[in-house]
């Protein structure tokens, strides 16, 4: 069984356009393979093929992160407080997948409510990185238990293991790109506002994005193209005319590409702030190798500076925690969710003493930590120094990005129209930015430091949060393994991230596709 699987996986991975549905075609195999990595927390029964729908995603096997509402399976958000919760309505993205004929394989593991970078804060237990089980690991790889990354660890692992063609994830500060980097798959966080959040359980609304993970850019794009549309149910969903204005810019730039070698003349900005001391040598080396390859294909590498990025991580944790403390307030065990029966000594006249028992019992440690942090940041005494300050930093981060891109930000207050001369004038700007997705490869799960020293875990997001704060499209593609392995390179996957201007998602995906053929 094992040999067969590996062989088919090898076959699969040799051709980027093929899909894994051929290998794990039955749910039984999904169940068996999943037992090794704990990527799925719920696996749907085999769909009735006689009634399977024809559509743009017909036959495509898609996994859905467990913080996205589905009516036919629980939506636990990996939290004890929702461990038996089944949503009475379906998320718009899931509805779209079904309408297009996709086969929803099941719900994937994640950090509780998306809060975490290693998929270790889950009531379902951690997701194990499947890399040693994949052919890329090589025959000599021993099965080492490493983190799949988080929070969309289950989605990344399910894709890497070949249990589905694509998976929906959510990305608030790097929750798609980081696990994609650790598991060696493609992970895409679209521009904020392109994909509906109706039915997506809020962690931090102003940052939450639904995105796609897949074995290759084509699979990701195929799903993204279907789920990216205006939704009246989501007040932050971008209206058609702004989508069009942005995509016109991206298309114009894409069309100017040399079709036989799209990388020729591409202006790639390398942001100097994205190489902090925490960055491992292995990452640096592989990233440099990638840059050399790009340059040899005619890409123009331009060093740029995004000075406010250094403050982005701090600002991110203040804002995300503040919003989280607000969004988590609804889990009181009254209307739905788990409830702890108040102890006999409880003063039932005091609402807070009843609520606190359910909340203390059913929220995990990381969620509790962020609620406390966010609650503090919103208190009257701290609001100006923390929340408002973080909002100012967020604006500076946005401004930094706008200053380096050749494509203007159409979401600004002034109406921007596609203008030929304007593009020429801004020719000094870069088309995309490229940076390592993470400071290292996947950390070991056994490492005691993971859970004890939370601050270390927060550093995992260091490189991914700036794009989140600015709401920009960001795509993780695996860096090819270096030919000359430097000391410290463990051979595990490392990814690099492509960031584009807001709304230039097609351009980002186009560049990602070109890079994967290198």
């Amino acid at each position: 069984m094992r040999g067969n699987t590996t062989a088919s996986l090898r076959r699969l991975l040799s051709s980027p356009s093929s899909h894994c549905t051929r290998c794990y075609s039955t749910r039984q195999t999904v169940i068996e393979q999943n037992a090794k990595i704990n990527a799925f927390v719920h696996i749907n029964p085999e769909p009735d093929h006689s009634v399977s729908r024809a559509g743009a995603l017909s036959g495509l096997k898609v996994a859905v992160k467990d913080n996205i509402a589905t009516t036919d399976s629980p939506t636990t958000c990996s939290s004890s407080i929702l461990k038996t919760f089944v949503s009475p309505f379906e998320a718009t993205v899931v509805q779209k997948l079904r309408e297009d004929g996709a086969d929803i394989v099941g719900k994937t593991n994640c950090d509780e409510f998306g809060m975490g970078s290693l998929n270790i804060y889950s009531i379902h237990g951690p997701t194990v990185n499947p890399f040693p089980l994949t052919p890329n690991a090589g025959p000599s790889a021993e099965f080492e238990q490493r983190s799949a990354g988080g929070s969309s660890g289950g989605s990344a692992a399910a894709v890497a293991m070949g249990l589905c063609d694509a998976a929906l994830g959510t990305d608030t500060g790097g929750s798609i790109r980081l696990p994609a980097s650790y598991c060696g798959v493609v992970g895409f966080k679209p521009s904020y506002g392109l994909v509906s959040r109706w039915g997506v359980v809020s962690y931090a609304d102003s940052l939450d994005c639904v995105g796609v993970l897949g074995t290759d850019v084509a699979a990701v794009k195929r799903v993204f193209d279907r789920i990216s549309s205006f939704d009246a149910k989501d007040p932050t969903s971008t209206v058609l005319e702004i989508r069009k204005a942005a995509s016109d810019y991206a298309k114009q730039r894409l069309q100017s590409f040399n079709q036989s070698n799209p990388l020729n003349g591409l202006k790639i900005g390398i942001p100097q702030e994205f190489f902090p001391t925490e960055l491992s040598n292995a990452v640096l080396n592989r990233f440099r190798t990638t840059l050399r390859t790009l340059k040899s294909h005619g890409a123009q590498l331009i060093p740029v500076t995004l000075p406010s990025s250094s403050y982005a991580l701090s600002a991110y944790y203040v804002l995300a925690s503040a919003e989280a403390s607000s969004n988590m307030a609804r889990y009181d065990g009254i209307q739905y969710g788990e409830r702890k029966t108040p102890s006999l000594q409880t003063d039932l006249r005091s609402v807070s003493s009843v609520y606190s028992q359910s909340r203390s019992a059913h929220f995990g440690p990381e969620v509790q930590r962020r609620i406390l942090l966010g609650t503090y940041a919103l208190t009257a005494d701290a609001f100006d120094n923390y929340f408002l300050q973080a909002q100012r930093v967020r604006q500076l981060v946005k401004d930094d990005f706008d200053a380096v891109f050749s494509i203007p930000n159409v979401r600004g207050d002034t109406k921007v129209k596609v203008d030929e001369t304007e593009l020429d004038n801004s020719s000094y700007g870069v088309d995309i930015l490229l940076h390592p997705s993470a400071i290292g490869s996947a950390p070991a799960l056994s490492s005691g430091t993971l859970s004890n020293s939370s601050l270390d875990a927060y550093v995992q997001d260091l490189l991914t949060v700036p794009a989140s704060l600015a709401g920009l499209p960001a795509l993780n593609v695996p860096c090819p393994a270096a030919v000359d392995m430097v000391a410290g390179d463990d051979g595990w996957p490392i990814g690099c991230s492509i960031i584009g201007q807001w709304g230039s998602d097609e351009l980002v995906l186009g560049v990602g596709k070109a890079m994967s053929f290198l």
């Binding site: 996205i68 509402a69 939506t75 958000c77 929702l82 919760f85 949503s87 009475p88 309505f89 998320a91 959040r197 109706w198 039915g199 997506v200 359980v201 809020s202 931090a204 609304d205 102003s206 009246a232 149910k233 989501d234 007040p235 932050t236 503040a322 919003e323 403390s325 607000s326 988590m328 307030a329 609804r330 009181d332 009254i334 209307q335 739905y336 039932l348 006249r349 609402v351 807070s352 609520y355 609650t375 919103l378 208190t379 009257a380 609001f383 929340f387």
Partner: protein, 566 residues
Amino acid sequence: MLVRLLVRRQFIACRRARQLHSLREPKEDPRWPGYEVVIGIETHAQLKSRHKLFSHALTSGPKEDSNTNVSVFDAAFPGTLPKLNPKCVDLALRTSLALNCEIQRRSSFDRKHYFYSDLPAGYQITQQYAPLAKNGTLDVHLPDSSTPVSVRIKQLQLEQDTAKSTFSPRTLTSNIDLNRAGTGLMEIVTFPDLRSPEEAGAYVRTLQALLRAVGSSDGNMEEGSLRCDVNVSVNRIGEPFGTRCEIKNLNSVKFMMAAIVHEIRRHLDILATHSSVSQETLGFDENTFETFKLRSKEDAPDYRYMPDPNLGTLVLSEERISSVQSTLPELPMQTRQRLLSSYGLSEKNVDVLMKLDSSKDVPVDGDNSATPGPIQFFDELCQGGKRNPKIAFNWMAHELLGQLTARKQSFQNNTITVQQLSELIDLVQDKQITGTSAKYLLRHMLSNPSSESTREIAEEQQLMSFASTEPPTNDGTAFPDSGYPPSGSPSTSSIPPTTTVESAIGLDVLVGRALAAMPKEVEALKAGHKGVMNKFVGWVMRESRGRADARLVKEEIERMLRKDLD
């Protein structure tokens, strides 16, 4: 001298402080001589919209079964998002414009956090930092003063109403009704410009009338669609404002005024002992008519306001504001002025119409195209200047409304159309029917609603007047000479149906009969006893069941007697 100087200096300091807060000169109140009472009011008015503020669930009336109008958003289910209802914005805009507010082209929503069972999301969406409208005024007329008090409005903001939670102390359980959760509210905040419980009461009543007139809220305090929080402080005249205390959730004008009076007395008692009032939030006990402490300033909760990350900025275009402005219904003060000046009605009559109009149902989503209210009805009666407004008023307010009241109905139940009543008035004016017949006809039409014209109904009912000159069409032998009950006022007694034959009888025939029936009286009349005339008129009126015009009857008698004499 030194004392005077000090007093003077203090006075100037106070004056300066006062100018910051208020434009009003202190006025002595005999109930608390030497003291000044300062009041500010926060009103929560439920928007009369079909749907809730951020969800598609319907709004609920007080009689609806609990938890029937609830969407997943109202119950704060995970994954739900708010969607601003533009109708609610328009209603709030109408109100803001009616209150002469500066509309904020950009406003935004904040989350106010607290844990309570009436708040499923753990926060209320409100507009704490950037409200929809600021700096308005409302002129409040007081019965004992010719000049109105101009109350400054600090701000008007949109926010969500909470669920209704009822705690049973016996079972120690709370019952939660989510019907109200998420209904749109306007919070209307005044500056501390009110100076007595009566002014506060008049302010709330004026605001209530304004909200109803613009259609933004039915302002029903009994049903909880209008609630007030009142800030009260007391200071010695000439000194700065005292420490204010807030009385929460007052749901009638009477209770509000009683709560203010109690609070003033409480402050006066404290000030009399030369101690100082401490800032508190209070409740009002409707049984004892006393305020009670809910919490002190130190226990004030930190609501951890945060900008709502989903709703963003509410941007209002100039076009939208002017479109709301152009469709703004007439405000109560304007209506009043118009009724007084263009129709020449008395203050008393205008009051009747205004009061009548204020009880009309407020339509949802400000849709004024529904059934006309009483004032619109009156306007249409007077349209074109054909009818005398005073006569129209009498028919509408006395006859029609009187009949409705006798039937234990209100104006909303009126089935008579403006056209029907107009025609009725015209028929009377043109002497085609008598006033008495018209009153009977009105009653008949209320009992038998029909879309026929008044003339058609009058003809069917044979209530058209006799024409004095109309020649007799038959000899009148078929006319029954008795059998009619002696009728008093025709408008309060019933009249049996008539036959077709008698309607054809002319006035001259009837008068002839009257003369023939009372020969003695004829002699008396001939002898110059004018008083006997009324006997004949009464006889004819009775026989004709009010269809005859008394003046014409008199003329006809005089004509016949003259003919006789000749």
